[in-house]
Symmetry: C2
Subunit: 350 residues, 2 copies
Amino acid sequence: MSTVQPAGTRTELTREMVQRALDAKTKPPGSLGRLESLALQLALLQRTTAPVVDRARVVVFGADHGVAAEGVSAYPAAVTAEMMRNFARGGAAVTVLARANGADVEVVDVGVDADLAGLDGIVHAKVRRGTRNLAAEPAMTHAELEAALLVGRGAARRAAQDGVRALGLGEMGIGNTTAAAALLSATTGDSPSATVGRGTGVSDATLEHKRAVVDRALRRHAAVLHDPAARFAALGGLELAAIAGAALEAARLGIAVIVDGFISTVAVLAAMYLDPHAPLRDAIVCAHRSAERGHGLALRALGAEPLLDLDMRLGEGSGAACAIPLVRSAARILTDMATFESAGVSGRVE
Amino acid sequence: MSTVQPAGTRTELTREMVQRALDAKTKPPGSLGRLESLALQLALLQRTTAPVVDRARVVVFGADHGVAAEGVSAYPAAVTAEMMRNFARGGAAVTVLARANGADVEVVDVGVDADLAGLDGIVHAKVRRGTRNLAAEPAMTHAELEAALLVGRGAARRAAQDGVRALGLGEMGIGNTTAAAALLSATTGDSPSATVGRGTGVSDATLEHKRAVVDRALRRHAAVLHDPAARFAALGGLELAAIAGAALEAARLGIAVIVDGFISTVAVLAAMYLDPHAPLRDAIVCAHRSAERGHGLALRALGAEPLLDLDMRLGEGSGAACAIPLVRSAARILTDMATFESAGVSGRVE
């Protein structure tokens, strides 16, 4: 029986409708595994049984960290600015991997402690030249946190305008595994021994020192750690805030959020606490399981199972870049595969 | 001190030379994990610190199996030929996934039990219309095995002529998880309870029956199972033999062999026993861990750790297609990334 649909109403796309479309394709039901659940997610996110992820992008937010002065990294803080130049010229891992995987790259200065005004090919949106030292005082004011969140939201809106349907979120910032570990500990209650890892590859002695720095920071800011925005401002970083803002806005716009490694996962987890009603869970795809200690905890807190497990621990968005072909592939199952009926292929006999 | 190198000698590329090239790139040493070991493998395979995998291909060998008459599949044998038409038209999973991932597809009829002579867009190299029923008699004669191996070698040579540097090996053949399980049991000594799985998704009852069929086959051919070629002929399939031949020839030509799932892994394992001196181990990259029972055993016997683990179990070469971007990405690290020196990025401070 056909019914006339009142003008202005839309048929709601249900999970069952997408599942039926997947099961009609020429393959045993479920035999494409994770690619099928990803296809289902993309269809519901884009509200169509024919989702498209042809245009993809990785955004790299760069910022410095006052806590780097505590000697928590294997590399000097100057590397943040040096790597921004390397991104702009296309010589860094994330730019190479994005190009190899058919994604473009946007590089955003949200808080590098250097004058990059003359650097072409990046977005200039510096909130301030690096955060304050989180072990001694709040890393950011609330206004700075808000400004960095807005920088991230802006990147997501540019992506939407450019037709991007999958947005990888990466970062560069010497000292940022320290900030992320502190924010993760504050969020989940796990001790620094579980959240602090070697980052760029520090020695045993520096790892111990890094844990002590995070422990000190958690004690210093103990009074505000119950509040999601206050703990983000106290312990986070400008690039973490930008990632959080980009994730929230991309999810709102129906863009798949490709979460990179440790930093990116902690930032997205923090975004969920900042705005518990945002449709973030429906939009996020965790790209890979990083070798950085603490990433497993962050993924568990997010309730996410990553696509790749390649022992990577570089950050930048390098893992997100590698996952994009899988996201694109998942969408193509729905748009490009023939059905048993259209291809004239026999069905099951049992 | 410089020395004059005698004409005609070549500097041998060593593992250390490639490792130095990787460690000079702008990233903490080893931070790209499996991508770096893959880059090392590709460099040694291509004998250059600048390996290229831009051109990639998945070959799908199609063939039927006499053992399908035993009722070991959830789908009728006619599906093999129907899927060959689906491959030719580009509507099947492997063709869709290969296109999404920048690889082309070659479809080869090495033994489909149907007249496909009029089908355009595939390679016609039928050895015979399907194998004999391996549970009752040897599936192939030695001459048929040799002919199918040659079909595979031909596909690898065409790939080399076309500039392909990574060759995925896939298959289509109703009944072929039964043949592969039998061949795997004969190779490793594992019982059918460990090697026989649900294939396209058979019921519990059919799974039990399938195990009994493999058990019967192993007892029938017990006298020849010690001989790699004889057990391949007795229990294998024409598409498995073609995969084995393609793998051996591709390895000889310095082409990376992207091994797909259960069938493909068993065929490559069998190829190693056929020709223990072939440089196969240096060339193979296992694409993914299939959800098919027995694949873990086959991977262990091959001594390989797959790149992806996405709960896929379709075959065709669908997993190989999904892994190609990772192989391409790995090569690009060596060819495209800047070095600390060229990019002016500071090195470690500890």
